[in-house]
């Protein structure tokens, strides 16, 4: 099993802690002039997203985690699993709800997503930064405001709800930022 020693620690390094894949967020070395050196490490548990902190005695080792980010195409969901495919090898991957829970409202069939695999299993999915969706429901009554000073909620075809300018109507397509969940513009 591959291991990393504390002197290999750097941001983004993937390692196993209590069997769970983690990624280093920040590492600081503490070396007193006349004492044992330590490494203060802040890291994210990639399964839960929680950021934790531990202090490692210098020279301690952690197990490397088999974590890779790969670009996969989203195919469909059967309600239990979300199915992805590698378009070059046609290998298929099933993601459980925990891996996609935060992003299901941004998943569009055929879109390419970045899928984080741990031991070959999807543990996190990042949709494209910008996607185009159709407005299926919004308050149609407000007209005449083209300056976009106000805003109103709109439900999109995936079920996502975003704030849109008053001039946006049902049936129009809009571009949204998936990281912030924000309306960017109308799609041509």
């Amino acid at each position: 099993m591959a291991t990393y020693s504390t002197n290999e620690f750097k941001n983004g390094l993937k390692f196993l802690m209590d069997g769970q894949p983690c990624s280093i967020v920040e590492t600081t070395s503490v070396s007193p002039g006349k004492g044992q050196a330590f490494n203060r490490v802040r890291y994210r548990n990639l399964m839960t997203g929680r950021v934790l902190e531990k202090t490692f005695k210098s020279g301690e080792k952690v197990e490397a985690a088999d974590v890779v980010d790969t670009d996969l195409q989203y195919l469909y969901t059967d309600g239990d699993f979300w199915h992805f495919m590698d378009p070059s090898t046609f290998d298929q991957y099933q993601a459980m709800e925990a891996a996609v829970a935060d992003v299901t409202k941004w998943l569009i069939e055929q879109d390419m997503c970045t899928v984080t695999l741990f031991n070959g299993q999807p543990i996190a999915v990042t949709p494209p930064k910008q996607i185009t969706l159709e407005v299926v429901d919004t308050d149609p009554g407000l007209k005449g405001d083209t300056a976009g000073t106000g805003g109103k909620p709109a439900t999109l075809s995936t079920g996502a709800v975003v704030q849109v300018p008053l001039f946006v109507q049902i049936g129009e397509k809009v571009i949204v930022n998936t990281e912030k969940g924000e309306y960017l513009s109308r799609a041509k």
């Binding site: 070395s29 006349k34 044992q36 050196a37 330590f38 203060r40 902190e53 531990k54 202090t55 005695k57």
Partner: protein, 327 residues
């Protein structure tokens, strides 16, 4: 580095030298390369290979981790008060407080007690940190033992157990420690010091101040004398400003036998920890044997840290032209 910062750094070096010239302390520039090293197991020296005449293979030489040994040889030979201001090297991970190559100011004062030297360090550091007409920082002195009472709520650190230290870390919400033996009291004690106590040193009512921590345990004496009236403590001090260790000083050990004994303790500890052995500085031991070290106190001060504090930099690298950066 911009010219403005270069000028400020240059002024600091000038100010430090002027301080010592004014006190008739002479500057010495000791060798950076030595065929012997410092046995202290927490000091990691860089090495290089040097082709010396009369030897077929290049020989291992150590880059100085401090100028202490050659300075002490000079003291034995009658140099009088001396200071060194220049580069030293320590192989430790880069951090906002550490560069592998850094500038050290080290000086020795004949006939000074530990407390007299602490007072001189305070005067110098106050001068340096009061530029830009900021107010003069206050000075406090606290013994190692008292610091554990005041900042860690440990009544007597000399008799406290490893478990008490672990409990203290837990009560103060310190992140879990990985890789330390449950019973390694010395290391748990160090962690209480660095994690719980040190962040409080050099800070008073939210303002920076100078805190001298003195009378370290005799087990951490390094090359300091053990206090005449208390064999539990060594006449060693450190200075902290804003939670940052700035200087480390001793009332210096004088006798050659004691030097050899401390060196051999360190070599044994190295062996125990599985570190490579290191040739002892026989030149120093010979100098001490011929003429014991005159009664003196000495201190080493990190100049890059001092400059960062003076300029309000959060990383010493920002005050150094072409410092090393993390990749």
């Amino acid at each position: 580095m911009n010219r403005d910062m270069l000028i400020k750094r240059s002024q600091l070096l000038q100010q430090l030298r002027a301080f010592f010239y004014a006190h008739s302390v002479i500057e010495v520039d000791t060798p950076m390369l030595s065929s012997a090293g410092v046995p202290d197991c927490h000091l990691h020296a860089l090495t290089t290979q040097v082709q010396v005449s009369g030897q077929r293979e290049p020989q291992t030489y150590y880059l100085q981790t401090s100028p202490e040994y050659p300075m002490k040889r000079l003291l034995c030979q009658g140099s009088g008060d001396i200071f060194y201001l220049g580069k030293v090297f320590r192989q430790d991970a880069l951090s906002p407080r550490h560069q592998v190559e850094f500038v050290m100011l080290e000086w020795y004062r004949l006939g000074f007690s530990m407390f007299e030297l602490m007072a001189e360090v305070a005067t110098l550091v106050q001068q340096v940190l009061s530029v830009n007409s900021s107010p003069i920082l206050t000075v406090e002195q606290i013994s190692y033992q008292q610091a554990f009472v005041q900042h860690a709520n440990i009544e007597n650190i000399f008799t406290a157990t490893a478990e008490q230290c672990q409990q203290c870390l837990a009560t103060h919400g310190i992140a879990e420690i990985v890789g330390v033996d449950q019973n390694d009291k010395a290391l748990w004690e160090q962690l209480v010091l660095t994690e719980v106590i040190e962040p409080n040193l050099g800070v008073q009512n939210g303002q920076p101040c100078l805190t001298f921590l003195y009378h370290y345990p005799a087990s951490q004496a390094a090359l300091a004398q053990v206090a005449a009236n208390n064999p539990e403590v060594a006449e060693r001090f450190e200075l902290f400003v804003n939670g940052i260790e700035l200087a480390n000083g001793y009332h210096e050990l004088a006798d050659v036998q004691q030097y050899r004994a401390r060196f051999e303790d360190s070599l044994r500890e190295r062996k125990l920890l599985g570190y490579a052995s290191i040739p002892l500085d026989e030149n120093l031991l010979l100098a001490l044997k011929q003429q014991p070290l005159p009664d003196c106190s000495g201190v080493a001060l990190g100049v890059d840290r001092l400059f960062a504090l003076q300029q309000g930099l959060d990383n010493i690298e920002k005050g150094i032209a072409f410092g090393l950066r993390k990749v």
